[in-house]
Symmetry: C2
Subunit: 252 residues, 2 copies
DNA sequence: GTACTAAATTGATCTATATCATTTTGGTGC
DNA sequence: GCACCAAAATGATATAGATCAATTTAGTAC
């Protein structure tokens, strides 16, 4: 698709899960097995469970669900990235998380009904598996280990959300952004020769909405980081050149 | 204990769960039944489960556990209030939550070992039940409904934590404080003649650490609220006189 | 290569809130 | 009633980061 021979600078991001892409059953199984709450299961059990999931492909920017919608599904990212956000009345978006393959999201309201409290959107082209909550409840009852694993994952989510609260109330914008870059490197980093490319289309606005600041402030911080040789960046992409310096900004 | 006959102004807070107080078995059972993850169980099953919990009484200010400690217990507040917080290196505390009776806290790390990522402290004199994680795991395996209930409670915690993130990044200090007052009224409000007393000792510093601001700013906001007749307040206590005005501050 | 456009940058203010420094006061113990 | 003291309030000032307003530029399409 990309006739890469120009020396002209184009986006270094790969065009993953592009249009017309289809999530194969194989991919489904492999990826679902990766998700930690299924990782203890036998292969044949896993195969059975996979059948109960439906795969859907989304293009970058597609809405997966919208806050306020009735919540009937639990979802798992198998390829690409999804973003969880809250829109506020004043039009200020808050990005709660960017999910990498293996992460679950959606609802866990197994009894009674519920409504999504956040929206989900395809950050890149992505494949998402979904399962109805009734089906998932059956799985839980059959395989208690799944329940225990998901309980821990959800505790982990709470923890990282609390960490975010701490950061917002105690750290400067620069520190918060440095921290976000580290987290994204962990989740989406792809090591190139002399740098680590964050394999994810994301703009200054995304970054600002994650850090709880404005695009302008995010831009200023990123400009400085680039001047200091810590990162290399273009439109919608960032590569980390000196992760140690980022760490030292966050540490202290 | 309190020879209440003076017209002198004293703290309107009750001296609940005072020194030497002892949590009775009855209290344990009643209160534990209230906790939503046990509320579906039969009485005799509940009785069995209660036996596996240990009750401990803490005095106001006591440390329940400290961040970094190995995490072996799941706990439930049965009386009084406990505070979850993170201490930062620079000495800025962040209050993550104030827990009322019926709330659980501590660890849910059922496999492997873990370390507390926050500290817990008795906000008032309080009774706390605790159960070892191994025991709790057995309960989970025996009663799947408990697992499902706790999964939902933990999803709910995540949600309120995300709401906090939204507030921190989009709302003013005044709005955040108004919101905290509403939440505390919900959890600890006790209706008096013309006002609702928040039955909980908590200082401007606690409030500031909850709102992600400074004691001075919190104090200024509270002074204004008092001038406008929205609240009545003294040392370590607040009563709400006009909850509608608080709501309207938060709404818009 | 040229034209085009949304993303990103940069600069000049403005402002909410932090910070620093006192003073005042609520509540207790005597 | 009076003394005491930490909590709370208040005032003056500083500042990080928001806001407003242009430019510049990266990347795409042709």
């Amino acid at each position: 698709m990309q006739v890469a021979m120009a020396k002209r600078k184009t986006t270094p991001l790969k065009d993953f899960a592009p249009d017309g892409h289809h999530c194969s059953l194989d991919l489904k199984t492999t990826k679902l097995g990766m998700v930690s709450f299924f990782q203890d299961l036998e292969q044949d059990v896993l195969d059975e469970i996979v059948k109960r999931f439906t795969a859907t492909h989304y293009r970058e920017g597609d809405e997966i669900y919208y806050q306020g919608d009735p919540a009937h599904y639990l979802r798992v990212v198998v390829d690409g990235a999804a973003k969880l956000l809250r829109y506020t009345d004043e039009g200020k978006d808050v990005v709660l998380d960017i999910l990498n393959p293996g992460s679950y999201f959606g609802s866990l309201k197994l009894l009674g009904s519920d409504v999504y409290t956040e929206s989900a959107e395809a950050q890149s082209g992505c494949c998402i598996l979904s399962i109805g909550l009734k089906d998932f409840r059956e799985i839980l009852q059959e395989y208690p280990s799944v329940g225990i694993a998901i309980l821990e994952m959800s505790a982990e989510k709470l923890r990282s959300s609390q960490e975010q609260i701490k950061q917002l109330t105690t750290e400067s914008v620069e520190t918060r952004i440095a921290n976000i870059l580290l987290i994204l490197t962990d989740k989406f980093g792809e090591v190139k020769e002399d740098k680590t490319l964050i394999q994810l289309p994301f703009s200054r606005k995304d970054l600002a909405d994650m850090a709880g600041t404005t695009t302008e402030s995010a831009s200023r911080v990123m400009s400085n980081f680039q001047k200091e040789g810590i990162i290399e960046t273009g439109r919608q992409w960032v590569a980390i050149k000196n992760i140690e310096m980022l760490r030292s900004i966050v540490e202290h």
